[in-house]
């Protein structure tokens, strides 16, 4: 099967600090990929490059046969890549429900001119509310749905981060530590949800995660990053048994 996403020898440095060093990864559709590595190994920078938040110094990113590293984040989103953030970046003065109503693409009512014609968008907005309701149910967030998203707990914020990616009907989902700050039972639940969505909708996930037990149990393929390079890759069993893993983490 052809690759959904190709990161081709991408480099990025910040004032001399090399965050990514000619990194290349290939993502095939319909799988769950895990990205691991110590702090500062370039995991989040990689996500920022793929989603257009940062522009690479060199190299290119190809999604669905199209070069995307020159595009704006909003265009990349519309091509089908969605992501969550490590630190929740919610719309804090808006309710949880509204936070979930925003991601869906092609909302007629968001158009400046069409907004005046209620009839043009009301049906769509109603259908949207059904999707939001389902997401709230899956994430067990119904009791806080009408609270401002600044009023809820940190763990719940992470859940909304995940919820927003569920609402955006993407092809590829990048999750940046989806279970950080979430209790273990809920973390297991999150991975269960991810697997379910992957199976039912055929989505592709790339997950940065520090809970290796859960990641290794669920991912199909692991990339181990260190100092902006891929130092090991393969099935979870292969990476776990790779002596490089211990070397990277323990500096041995």
């Amino acid at each position: 099967m052809s690759d959904l996403l190709v990161v081709d020898r991408v480099s990025k440095s910040f004032k001399g600090l090399k965050a990514l060093d000619e990194i290349s990864i290939n993502i095939k559709p319909g799988h769950i990929y895990g990205i691991i590595g110590p702090n500062g190994s370039g995991k989040t920078t990689l996500f920022n490059i793929i989603t257009g938040v940062l522009k690479p110094d060199s190299g290119q990113v190809i999604f669905d046969g199209r070069r995307i590293d020159v595009l704006e984040p909003n265009s990349i989103y519309n091509l089908g890549i969605t992501r969550s953030f490590q630190l929740p970046t919610l719309w804090l003065n808006m309710s949880v429900a509204e936070n979930l109503m925003l991601p869906p693409k092609q909302q007629v009512g968001e158009n400046l001119r069409k907004a005046f014609f209620k009839k043009a968008w009301e049906t769509q907005d109603m259908q949207l509310s059904d999707m939001v309701w389902q997401t709230l149910e899956t994430l067990k967030l119904k009791q806080v749905a009408l609270n401002k998203s600044s009023e809820i707990s940190g763990g719940q914020m992470k859940l909304i981060e995940l919820g927003r990616t569920m609402m955006s009907n993407p092809k590829l989902v990048l999750l940046d530590e989806p279970t950080a700050g979430v209790n273990p039972a809920l973390a297991l639940e999150i991975f269960k949800i991810i697997k379910e969505i992957k199976q039912s909708m055929g989505l592709t996930y790339v997950i940065i995660e520090h809970r290796y037990d859960m990641l290794f149990a669920n991912a199909d393929y692991i990339y181990l990053l260190n100092e902006g390079k891929v130092v090991s890759e393969g099935s979870p069993e292969k990476v776990i048994n790779d002596p490089v893993l211990a070397e990277v983490y323990l500096g041995a």
Partner: protein, 350 residues
């Protein structure tokens, strides 16, 4: 104080309120919904007023086929005579001014916006707008061909000169001002009580997240600033026609901050807040002026105009301390979809 005086105070307060309301609604649309720090509101307000003065003066010259200095006494007389001779003309010029004021403001907003659009920090645009407002005031104040510089341009005829009687004409103008303010309120409400309004609030709350979720922050902000500025331009035209007079020094940045006070007092991100806030600001502004005349009649030598600043300052402090979200705090945009979710939650609770 006799009855006629009271009526005229009420009508003039209502006129000022209507003009303030348009400005507050436009700022609330820009800042309250989209997070644009428009510290240059007065610039767009003044562009509307300048358009009116400039058009009225120069069209009169062109129509009469003369080339008077627009600031001369002859030119003023010509404008008033021409209005009497062709009573429909002022109304046409008024409508043309509304169009020109709105278009010019929107165009300037566009240019100023794109000049800073590569810089992500919103306050840069705010400072650019602030300084553009002051710069344009100082230029117009010293460059007579626009609206007669320091002295200002007088003799903008009432658009309803055709009505004959001056009282009727000024009453018709007042009604026009109120109707336009009402339309502005309905327009902005209809526009923002929608998924579009929701999108703007997302851009305001977190630009990065909005961009990542497919909204176009810069693109939307530019449009919002243009629409908001066009509204301010319309308010400026109404202001010039209501006073019959335009002077650059009327448009200091203090006016911008009056509008900010109105929006902050009333409640950011809520149009009813702008309605309330601008009412409070207008009442304080007009009230202190009336009080001054009243005290002067009683021979009490007290300058109440400064009282205005004290009252506004104290009110602002009290609001920030006890009701930081304003008199009427922001509410969720209740689109049909959200209403349905609210309903479902209610049903589950019972």
């Amino acid at each position: 104080m006799d009855f006629n005086q009271l009526i005229s105070i009420i009508v003039s307060t209502a006129n000022f309120y209507a003009i303030w309301l348009i400005l507050s609604l436009s700022l609330n649309y820009e800042y309250g919904y989209t997070g644009i720090l428009n510290f240059g509101k007065v610039l767009f307000f003044s562009l509307g007023a300048y358009s009116s003065g400039f058009l009225a003066a120069n069209l009169a010259n062109i129509m009469a086929g003369v080339s008077f200095d627009i600031c001369s006494v002859e030119a003023v007389q010509l404008r008033l005579d021409l209005a009497k001779a062709v009573p429909q003309l002022p109304l046409l010029v008024f409508v043309a001014s509304l169009i020109m004021g709105a278009a010019l403001s929107a165009a300037v907003a566009y240019l100023l916006y794109i000049s800073t659009s590569r810089i992500k920090e919103g306050f840069v645009l705010g400072i650019i707008l602030l300084s553009a407002g002051e710069t344009s005031r100082i230029v117009v104040r010293n460059y007579e061909p626009v609206v007669c510089g320091y002295h200002g341009l007088v003799g903008i005829p009432n658009p309803y000169t055709a009505a004959g009687d001056p009282t009727t004409a000024s009453f018709l103008l007042s009604i026009t001002i109120w109707v336009i303010a009402g339309v502005a309120f309905l327009f902005i409400n209809k526009l923002t009580a929608t998924p579009y309004g929701r999108k703007l609030k997302a851009i305001r709350d977190n630009e990065l997240a909005a961009d990542i979720y497919g909204k176009k922050p810069s693109h939307e902000r530019r449009k919002v600033l243009m629409i908001g500025s066009a509204m301010a331009g319309v308010a400026g035209v109404l202001y010039a026609y209501y006073l019959g007079f335009v002077a650059a020094d009327d448009f200091t940045s203090l006016k911008t901050f009056d509008i900010w006070v109105a929006v902050m007092l009333g409640g950011v991100g809520n149009h009813l807040g702008a309605v309330t806030g601008s009412l409070v600001v207008t009442l304080i502004d007009r009230g202190t002026r009336v009080l001054r005349v009243f005290l002067a009649n009683l021979s009490i030598p007290l300058e109440t105009l400064y009282l205005r600043w004290i009252i506004v300052g104290v009110l602002m402090l009290l609001i920030l301390m006890y009701r930081p979200a304003g008199i009427i705090p922001e509410k969720s945009i209740k689109t049909l979809g959200l209403l349905r979710i609210i309903e479902r939650i209610k049903r589950e609770k019972t």
